[in-house]
C-alpha cells in the first residue's frame, strides 16, 4: 500500500511538474532565442516586441491543442459521420437527418428537452438565488450553504439511487418504502408510481438535477450578491421598499449578468446530462432526452454512429443561440482592454 501511495504521488508530481515545466521552459527558450541585451536598446526592444508577439501562442498553445484534439476534431468527425451509415462505412447523404425528422422517439426527446430546458435552469437559478439571499442573513448561513452544496459532491448515479428511495412505489397495501408515497399515504392520498406518471414523470427526474445543481447556482450567486453596493439597498429601504420589493426590484436586476452566466452553465449541463435519465428510467415512460437518445444510439446493440452523430449535432445546434449570446457578451467585455 505504501509503495502504491508513494508511486502515485510520484506520478502526480511528475505529471503536474511536466505541465508546469512546459511553460517555464518555453519561456526560457523564448528568452534565449530573442535575447534582450542591456546595452542595445534597439535590439532589446525589437526582441521584446517579438517576444510579446510569440508569447500569447505559447500560453494558449496547450489549451488550443487540447481543445483541437479532444473537442474540435471529434466534432468534425461527428459531422462527417452523420452522413454515413451505422458502421461509418457507407455514405448515405441526409438519410440520418431524414430519419431523425420522422422518428417519434426523437421528437419525444426534443419535447422533453425543451421541458428540461424550461424548468431546470430556471428552478436552479431561482432556488440558488433565494437560498443565497436568505443564507446571507443568518449566522448559520455557511452551514446551510454547505448542506445545500453537498449534493454537488454526489455522483449522478449515486444521486439517482438516493432518489429511488424517494420515488419508490409499493403496490396495494404494502408499506411504502419511498418517502414521497409514504407522505402521500399519510395525508390520505393514493400512492403513485411517480416515475411512470405520464408527462409529470419528467418533472420528477428534473427534481434530481435541480437538487444537485442548486448548490452551484447558490455559490456563484451568493458571491455576486455580495458585490451589490450596500447603499442601493439602503436607499431602497429609505424609499420604503419591502424586503420582497428590494429583492426583485433592486437586487435581482443588479446581478442580472451573473444570473445569465449561471443560467447558461446549467442549460448546457442539462443538455449534456444523461446519467439521471439512464439510471432512473432509461427514457421509458416517455422520459427520453436527447443526450440519452444519443448514448442509446451510440452504444446499444453495437451502435449506430451515423444517427448518434446527428443527435449530437442537434444538441450542439440547440445551444448555439445561447452560446452566440455569450460570445457576444465575452467579446463586448474584452472591448475595454
Amino acid at each position: 500500500m505504501m509503495t502504491q501511495i508513494v508511486s502515485a504521488i510520484g506520478v502526480m508530481v511528475a505529471g503536474v511538474f511536466a505541465c508546469a515545466l512546459y511553460y517555464w521552459l518555453s519561456d526560457k527558450l523564448l528568452a534565449a532565442v530573442l535575447p534582450v541585451p542591456d546595452n542595445n536598446v534597439r535590439l532589446a526592444s525589437q526582441n521584446l516586441n517579438r517576444r510579446a508577439a510569440i508569447r500569447p501562442w505559447l500560453f494558449l498553445g496547450p489549451a488550443l491543442i487540447l481543445l483541437a484534439v479532444y473537442l474540435v476534431y471529434p466534432v468534425i468527425a461527428t459531422f462527417i459521420l452523420s452522413f454515413y451509415d451505422r458502421s461509418g462505412g457507407t455514405f448515405v447523404g441526409f438519410a440520418n437527418y431524414r430519419w431523425a425528422f420522422f422518428d417519434a422517439q426523437f421528437r419525444q426527446s426534443i419535447f422533453n428537452n425543451i421541458l428540461w430546458l424550461a424548468v431546470v435552469p430556471a428552478a436552479c437559478t431561482f432556488f440558488g438565488l433565494v437560498i443565497a439571499v436568505l443564507t446571507d442573513r443568518i449566522w448559520w448561513g455557511n452551514i446551510a450553504k454547505s448542506l445545500i452544496f453537498m449534493p454537488m459532491a454526489i455522483s449522478f448515479v449515486g444521486a439517482s439511487v438516493i432518489w429511488k428511495f424517494i420515488y419508490e412505489f409499493r403496490g396495494g397495501k404494502e408499506t411504502q418504502i419511498g418517502l414521497l408515497n409514504a407522505i402521500v399515504q399519510a395525508i390520505g392520498g393514493d400512492p403513485q408510481v411517480w416515475i411512470s406518471l405520464p408527462f409529470w414523470n419528467s418533472f420528477f427526474l428534473m427534481a434530481i438535477l435541480i437538487w444537485i445543481q442548486t448548490g452551484f447556482a447558490m455559490v456563484i450567486l451568493s458571491a455576486a450578491l455580495r458585490g451589490i453596493p450596500e447603499e442601493t439597498i439602503e436607499a431602497a429601504v429609505i424609499d420604503g421598499a419591502s424586503g420582497w420589493q428590494i429583492f426583485w426590484k433592486i437586487m435581482v436586476p443588479q446581478i442580472w449578468g451573473t444570473i445569465a452566466v449561471v443560467w447558461t452553465t446549467i442549460t448546457i449541463l442539462v443538455l449534456k446530462v444523461f446519467d439521471i435519465v439512464l439510471t432512473m428510467t432509461n427514457g421509458q415512460w416517455n422520459t427520453m432526452v436527447l443526450a440519452n437518445l444519443m448514448f442509446d444510439w451510440m452504444f446499444r446493440g453495437g451502435g449506430d454512429s451515423g444517427r448518434s452523430a446527428v443527435i449530437a449535432l442537434v444538441i450542439m445546434a440547440a445551444v448555439t443561440p445561447i452560446m452566440i449570446w455569450n460570445i457576444r457578451q465575452a467579446n463586448k467585455e474584452t472591448g475595454g482592454h
Binding site: 436607499a235 429609505i238 443588479q254 442580472w256
Partner: protein, 362 residues
C-alpha cells in the same frame, strides 16, 4: 416643528463604542453640517437619524415624535449617499420615481414630482438615461433629485460631493445652497469633510471628534472663536499655526512669551492664578502679514514658497518651533526660499488656549 432632537444618543458596535452621548437640537428649516476627522462618527450619527442603524441608547425625536423604533421609510427623511447609490439598472426617471411607486402614488403625481425635481436640478434631458451614461455631477444630482421627490421633512446628505472633481464640487455646492433656499422649511443635515462646504452651506456646524461634539455654532463663530484647540485647528486651511507659549502677564489683556522668546500681547482675559501657565498661542496663516518694522510676532527663514497665483504660501522655519509656520499672503509675493522674514498679525486675530486646549474667551 419639524426639527430633529437627539438626547444622549449613544452607539456601540458590539464592544466598540462609537458615539458617547450626543445631545443636539436641530430646528425646523435649519441647515446643519457635521464635520470632523475621518472615523469620528459623522456617518454613523447621520445613519442613525435615517434609521439605518439601531440606536444603542438615548432618544431621538423627529417632528416631536420618538422615532427610535420607526423604520426609515416612516421617518419622513430622505438621504443622499456619498456613493450616490443610484439603482444602476433604472433610468434617471425610474430612480427618482421608485420611492413614490413603492408608496403607490398615482401616475400623474409621480410624473409631476419627478419632472419638478428634474427641473430644479436641470436633469430633464437626462431622464431616460441609465446612471452609467451620466457624468459624476449628473449622477450626484440624480441622487439629490431622488431625495427631493420623496418630499421629506428632513434631508440627510452623507458627503455628497466627495466623489466630484473640484469644478463640479463648486457647482453642485451652489446648487445645494439654492435648493435649501427653495425649500426653506426642510431641515437639512449634511456630513462633510470639506471645510469650504461646511462654511458655505451651514447655518450651524457641529464639530465632532471621536464620538463627541466639540463645538456647535455658526460657521464664522467657529472660525473666529473656536472653543478649543481641536476646533481651531480643524476649521481653516491651512490649519491655524500653533506656537507653545507661557503666560507672563494676566488680566483683561494677556501677555505671553512665545517659544523663541518673543513676547506678545493678546486681548483675552486671564486670571492671576494662571500666571506662568503653559498655553498655546494660535494664529491663522491668512491673518499673518509680512512685517516691515520691528513689531512682529515671529521671525524665521522661508523653507518653501508655494505660489498659487491668487495667494502665496510661505513656510517659515524657526529653530525654536518644531513645525514651520505657514503664512498665506494674497497675490504673488516676491519672496523666495532662504529669505528671512518677520511675520506679524492684527492682535484681535490672535488666539490663546490653555494647557487643556480650551480657548481663553475674549
Amino acid at each position: 416643528m419639524t426639527g430633529v432632537t437627539l438626547k444622549d444618543i449613544r452607539k456601540a458596535y458590539g464592544q466598540v463604542k462609537v458615539l458617547h452621548g450626543i445631545d443636539l437640537e436641530i430646528a425646523q428649516g435649519e441647515f446643519v453640517v457635521f464635520v470632523g476627522p475621518s472615523g469620528c462618527g459623522k456617518s454613523t450619527l447621520l445613519r442613525m437619524i435615517a434609521g439605518l442603524e439601531n440606536i444603542t441608547s438615548g432618544e431621538m425625536f423627529i417632528d416631536g415624535d420618538l422615532v427610535n423604533d420607526v423604520p426609515p421609510s416612516k421617518r419622513g427623511i430622505a438621504m443622499v449617499f456619498q456613493s450616490y447609490a443610484l439603482y444602476p439598472h433604472m433610468t434617471v426617471y425610474d430612480n427618482m420615481a421608485f420611492g413614490m411607486r413603492i408608496a403607490k402614488e398615482s401616475k400623474q403625481e409621480v410624473d409631476r414630482r419627478v419632472r419638478a425635481a428634474a427641473d430644479i436640478l436641470q436633469l430633464t434631458q437626462y431622464l431616460d438615461r441609465l446612471p452609467k451614461a451620466l457624468s459624476g455631477g449628473q449622477r450626484q444630482r440624480v441622487a439629490i433629485g431622488r431625495a427631493i421627490c420623496r418630499d421629506p421633512k428632513v434631508f440627510l446628505f452623507d458627503e455628497p460631493l466627495s466623489n466630484l472633481d473640484a469644478a463640479l464640487r463648486v457647482a453642485t455646492r451652489i446648487e445645494i445652497a439654492k435648493l435649501k433656499e427653495q425649500m426653506p422649511d426642510t431641515t437639512m443635515v449634511y456630513v462633510t469633510h470639506d471645510q469650504v462646504e461646511a462654511m458655505t452651506l451651514a447655518d450651524r456646524i457641529v464639530v465632532l471628534s471621536a464620538g463627541r461634539i466639540e463645538q456647535v455654532g455658526a460657521p464664522l463663530e467657529l472660525y473666529e472663536r473656536p472653543n478649543n484647540l481641536f476646533v481651531a485647528r480643524f476649521i481653516g486651511s491651512p490649519a491655524m499655526n500653533i506656537v507653545p507659549a507661557t503666560i507672563v502677564e494676566t488680566g483683561a489683556a494677556t501677555r505671553v512669551k512665545l517659544a523663541g522668546d518673543r513676547v506678545v500681547s493678546l486681548p483675552v482675559e486671564t486670571s492671576a492664578g494662571e500666571l506662568e501657565n503653559k498655553a498655546s498661542f494660535g494664529v491663522r496663516p491668512e491673518d499673518l502679514t509680512v512685517a516691515t518694522g520691528d513689531d512682529y510676532l515671529f521671525e524665521g527663514t522661508i523653507s518653501l514658497v508655494e505660489a498659487l497665483g491668487e495667494v502665496t504660501l510661505l513656510y517659515v522655519e524657526n529653530p525654536a518651533v518644531k513645525e514651520p509656520l505657514i503664512a498665506k499672503l494674497p497675490g504673488i509675493v516676491g519672496l523666495k526660499k532662504g529669505d528671512r522674514v518677520r511675520l506679524s498679525a492684527d492682535p484681535v486675530k490672535l488666539h490663546l488656549f490653555d494647557a487643556e486646549g480650551n480657548a481663553y474667551r475674549r
